[in-house]
């Protein structure tokens, strides 16, 4: 049986690039087929019927026609536009950061329905006015890393496999998690981690987003979690997320939450 020329899929638009005079190439994270790169014709014309439905940070139902080099979007209808995220600068900067993380972690054409559902849940949580942006970010980072196979070890020493006891714990991104005092290698970028931060990370790893958002976290603990996750993501993905600088600029401008640079 031949492959159908048209297929329908639900997806979250990650980013887009200009193509030729009026077209765009869209990177879309689909529910069933993973991350795809598709062409959308005439998207940069002011009266394009598809443009509003294919903006980044939109959950949309797509009809796609198979093409020789790139598949082409022939129809799109947005299911959720995340209007509140797009009108609130701190939420928008955080959503853009999560989008970059999803884009970096997921290879092309590799189905990942669990990753899709986490990303969608994260955006829906950011869309709720009363939700805590920092908690959503920490939870999403943890679960996006877990589903990609980069789960940090948080219970036993990554070197000697000994149980981590209170007052004797460090975090070393190059070891992939916690490490005990006796196993510290002074050549690597280890850092002390508080028992509070460790417990919160363990809770995030095994809990639902809904439960995780009930946590009350002090600002010093938030700084520590931010710093730990940034270091772990930088080491694991071997690059700095480009949008992180913008998240910091926005936090500074808002004057609410300080985001450490290390």
């Amino acid at each position: 049986m031949s492959t159908p020329r048209l297929y329908n899929t639900e997806g979250l638009v990650l980013r887009s690039y200009p193509l030729g005079e009026t077209d765009r190439i869209i990177t879309v994270f689909t529910k069933t087929a993973g991350k795809l790169r598709v062409a959308a014709r005439g998207l940069r014309k002011p009266n394009s019927k598809l443009a509003g439905h294919l903006e980044p940070l939109t959950c949309t139902n797509l009809t796609v026609s198979r093409g020789r080099t790139l598949d082409v979007v022939t129809g799109a209808e947005s299911r959720e536009s995340f209007y509140f995220i797009k009108t609130d600068l701190p939420r928008l900067s955080s959503a853009i950061y999560l989008t970059e993380l999803v884009d970096t972690i997921n290879p092309l054409e590799s189905p990942n329905p669990y990753g899709y559902s986490i990303y969608l849940k994260g955006l829906c949580a950011l869309e709720e006015e009363s939700s805590n942006v920092q908690l959503i970010l920490h939870y999403m980072e943890m679960h996006l890393l877990i589903q990609a196979g980069y789960s940090p070890e948080l219970h036993q020493c990554t070197e000697c496999q000994g149980k981590i006891v209170e007052g004797n714990h460090y975090f070393d991104p190059s070891h992939g998690g916690v490490i005990c005092k006796a196993c510290i290698n002074h050549q690597t970028n280890f850092r002390p981690v508080s028992i509070g931060a460790l417990k919160v990370l363990r809770f995030f790893a095994k809990s639902t987003l809904k439960d995780s958002l009930l946590l009350k976290i002090t600002q010093p603990l938030q700084f520590e979690l931010r710093s730990l996750m940034d270091a772990y993501i930088r080491y694991t993905l071997d690059r700095e997320m480009l949008s992180k600088a913008f998240v910091r600029s926005v936090s500074k401008l808002e004057g609410t939450v300080h985001v450490p640079t290390t």
Binding site: R15, P18, L19, G20, E21, P46, N47, K49, A51, G52, H53, E55, P56, L57, T58, S78, S81, Y83, K86, T87, D88, L89, L92, S93, I96, Y97, T99, E100, D103, L242, S243, A245, F246, V247, S249, V250, L253, E254
Partner: protein
């Protein structure tokens, strides 16, 4: 034979021709086939016309500068728009690109000044506020003569992020910060409009 764009892509042609193909290929929206077509068109072009084209490119690079006030491309500093006494100096319209100035000027609907950012915040591509002409804008606003800033960045994610960032940054420096209206385009079709466009169209509706 001369090696061109890709390591496995040999063009059996003269080196100057292959070099020009490579140069065209660097331009936005120009693929390898278009680059070859343009180059072979120029090969057949009379020498005087080729010289005109080369001279025009060099003159464009040699004789254009950025206006120190609005950051638009100009032959003189300040540019004719910034020098025009008929212009309303209390209004500044913020735009992403110099081409946007042409689009607004064609409408004859705006008589204030401009400020060109030369891009939009695109965090995912590593373009942050520091890469745009924002510090020059702050210097202009601190002069105190401006009462209204019109944010006319594109109505897409990058343009919206830029507009929201600028609003936070400058709202204490000017009396009024406005954003261009958003809604349904002329010739558009209501049934195909997305949720955000329709929401904004309702929010911005006016008495008939």
């Amino acid at each position: 034979m001369y090696r061109t764009m890709n390591s496995d892509d040999f063009l059996p042609t003269a080196e100057p021709v292959a070099r020009l193909i490579q140069e065209f290929h660097k331009l936005p929206g120009v693929g390898s086939k278009t680059a070859q077509r343009l180059t072979y068109y120029l090969v057949r072009m009379p020498k005087a016309e080729s010289e005109n084209l080369a001279e025009a490119i060099l003159a464009m690079k040699d004789r254009t500068i950025l206006c120190s006030q609005c950051q638009n491309i100009s032959e003189k500093d300040p540019c004719p728009i910034c020098l025009d006494p008929e212009r309303d100096v209390a209004r500044i319209c913020i735009l992403e690109e110099p081409l946007d100035v042409l689009a607004i000027e064609r409408t004859h609907a705006y008589k204030g000044l401009y400020h060109v950012l030369h891009g939009a915040i695109s965090p995912i591509n590593g373009i942050g506020p520091d890469e745009l002409r924002i510090s020059e804008l702050l210097t202009r606003l601190k002069g105190g003569a401006v009462t209204e800033v019109i944010l006319a960045t594109n109505p897409n994610l990058e343009g919206e992020a830029t507009a929201m960032y600028l609003h936070k940054l400058i709202s204490h420096l000017v009396e009024k910060v406005t954003r261009l209206a958003m809604g349904l385009p002329i010739g558009g079709d209501l049934e195909y409009a997305d949720q955000i466009t329709l929401t904004r169209a309702f929010e911005g509706r006016q008495e008939f």
